[in-house]
Amino acid sequence: MPASSAPASGGTILDPLPAAVDAAERRDRLGKIATEIRRSVVEMIGRARLGHIGGDLSATDTLATLFFAVLKVDPGAPTDPNRDRLILSKGHCSAALYSTLSLRGFFPTGDLATFMQPLSALNGHPNRRKVPGVEANTGPLGHGLPIGVGSAIAAKLSGADWRTFVVLGDGELQEGSNWEAAMCAGHRALDSLTAIVDRNRLQQGARTEDTNRLDPLADKWRAFGWDAVECDGHDHQALFEAFTAPRSGKPVCVIANSIKGKGVSFIEDRVEWHHKVPSPEQVERALKELAR
């Protein structure tokens, strides 16, 4: 057990949204869930004194929308062969994934307090063999999309209708393996595959466009045979619509324009918060800003 025994935020399992909700209710409910995830992320990283808070907070709304309104997954049967697959390629944002999985009921929220503690199942990067709901052990960048392509080929070969979603960092797209996979998915017209780029425009050391330019990013995906759409990465209804658009005969890339550190004013869009750890006072401030 960790030194601090304070429970993670939330503390209770949250229900996924029913299919029949209107846009306003969807926004409202996913907004509240996302706040719980963000509070949990801040507490976990504050307690562990380790983590990647900026990217966790930028990807939170995508993960909340997927797990609570889109993915066909059952926390009671996490390896059901017909489940949808969610692969977090930006595996360093494990605190957001663990919080989401736990609040969705894949494992007890109390376990979140062990994040990165010695021998915890909750490593800095996710491990499918130890954490229910994790599809792939990721961490080194550029691994998730090829795995997602294989998963989509598997669905096609099986004649199954499960879908595959891969959450990518934007800086991660500098890894060439992504483009090998993008070419392969476009060539094979894998329309059960959705890649989501958490486009927060910051990587570890600087802005993406100052490091190794990614724009025009949507055009790149289109050139590889994908449909590409851009949306506000913090607008749950826009994300929901992008993730549930009818299959079009092509793989889909959703460029989720986001703010690194979203939700905490002093962390937002600041390069140093890639993996900086908030002080106890900063944790308090952050939790105040992330009021329920």
């Binding site: 062969p81 052990n137 691994h143 392509v149 998963s151 989509a152 080929i153 099986s158 393996s177 090998e180």
Partner: protein, 318 residues
């Protein structure tokens, strides 16, 4: 004058046995898929492609994608046989082998085709002499080097049903069969004692096994009875067979078509030094090869009958 009549010994390229067995098991197990990098021809996958066009996933010249795609296929319930030239499969996709296959503990069969110096004159870029060293360091990855077609057939069947990530090193350079009885050609994790002897042990793998047997024949002619061990499972190593060899014969020569840093010889030495210290000679490839055919290069590095005999005589002080 006519040349003396010599019995022509039949030699084999293991890729044919590999491909035939893969087709055979794919016919009864729909989970078997082949994944390749524009290597249908060099991996002998034409027959597989003809019979199972949907289950042949050719990702193009993209090894990182190839191994990642295989992890996704395994996640979806398939058993991928990943077929590519050994140097590119293991070198280019090493991190995917470590993370996507081994750390994820998925039943992916990595098939390193044409390993060692099989590509001869194409040079060190196309030689796979580092693969055993690289892959031995990866936790949970089984490493199998069949020496002949019978072992290849058995190893492919084992890999398909093993449920663990594995690397099969499928030889291209022709060599004679070393299997006397096909029914027990290969058992995962077990060394085959191909010849009994008490003066020393020659421990060999892959294409060097038949050469070790030739060397033992020569040594016997000089009154030195050498034991010959065929190590077809490099990892996990049959430690009991190695310890017994060290204790009972007191000297060991290892031979492999791979760099000596970290390969079979290093693995054997680690066991010997801990359990039964005995003098050893480790034969293998010593650095990037000069230009030459595969057989020329094996001779160049002393990876032949005479090289093994010389090492054995040196060890025995005669």
């Amino acid at each position: 004058m006519t040349a003396p009549a010599t019995a022509k010994i039949e030699t084999f390229d293991c890729r044919q046995a590999f491909a035939e067995t893969l087709v055979e098991i794919a016919q009864s197990d729909p989970r078997i898929v082949a994944v390749c990098n524009d290597s249908v021809g060099s991996s002998n996958l034409s027959a597989f492609q003809k019979l199972f066009p949907e289950r042949l996933v050719n990702v193009g010249i993209a090894e990182q994608d190839m191994v990642g795609v295989s992890a996704g296929l395994a996640n979806g319930g398939f058993i991928p046989f990943v077929c590519g030239a050994a140097p590119f499969l293991t070198g280019r996709a090493l991190e995917q082998i470590k993370v996507d296959a081994a750390y994820n503990a998925l039943p992916i069969v990595l098939c390193g085709m044409s390993p060692g110096m099989a590509y001869g004159e194409l040079g060190p870029t196309h030689h796979s002499i580092e693969d055993l060293s690289w892959l031995r360091a990866i936790d949970g990855l089984a490493i199998v080097v069949p020496a002949d077609p019978a072992q290849t057939r058995a190893a492919v069947r084992w890999a398909a049903g093993s449920g663990v990530p594995s690397y099969l090193r499928i030889g291209r350079t022709k060599a004679p069969s070393v299997t006397a009885d096909d029914s027990n050609a290969f058992a995962f994790g077990q060394a085959n004692v191909l010849r009994q002897g008490s003066a020393l042990t020659i421990v060999a793998t892959g294409i060097l096994v038949s050469r070790a047997l030739e060397a033992a024949e020569v040594l016997a002619g000089r009154g030195i009875e050498a034991r010959v061990l065929n190590i077809s499972t490099i990892k996990p190593l049959d430690e009991a067979a190695i310890v017994a060899a060290a204790r009972e014969t007191g000297a060991i020569v290892t031979a492999e078509e791979a760099m000596t840093e970290g390969g079979l010889g290093a693995a054997v030495a680690a066991v010997v030094v801990r359990h039964a210290p005995a003098p050893m000679r480790i034969l293998g490839v010593k650095g990037f090869a000069p230009t030459g055919s595969a057989t020329f290069l094996l001779d160049h590095f002393g990876l032949n009958r005479d090289g093994i005999v010389a090492a054995a005589l040196e060890l025995k002080g005669s």
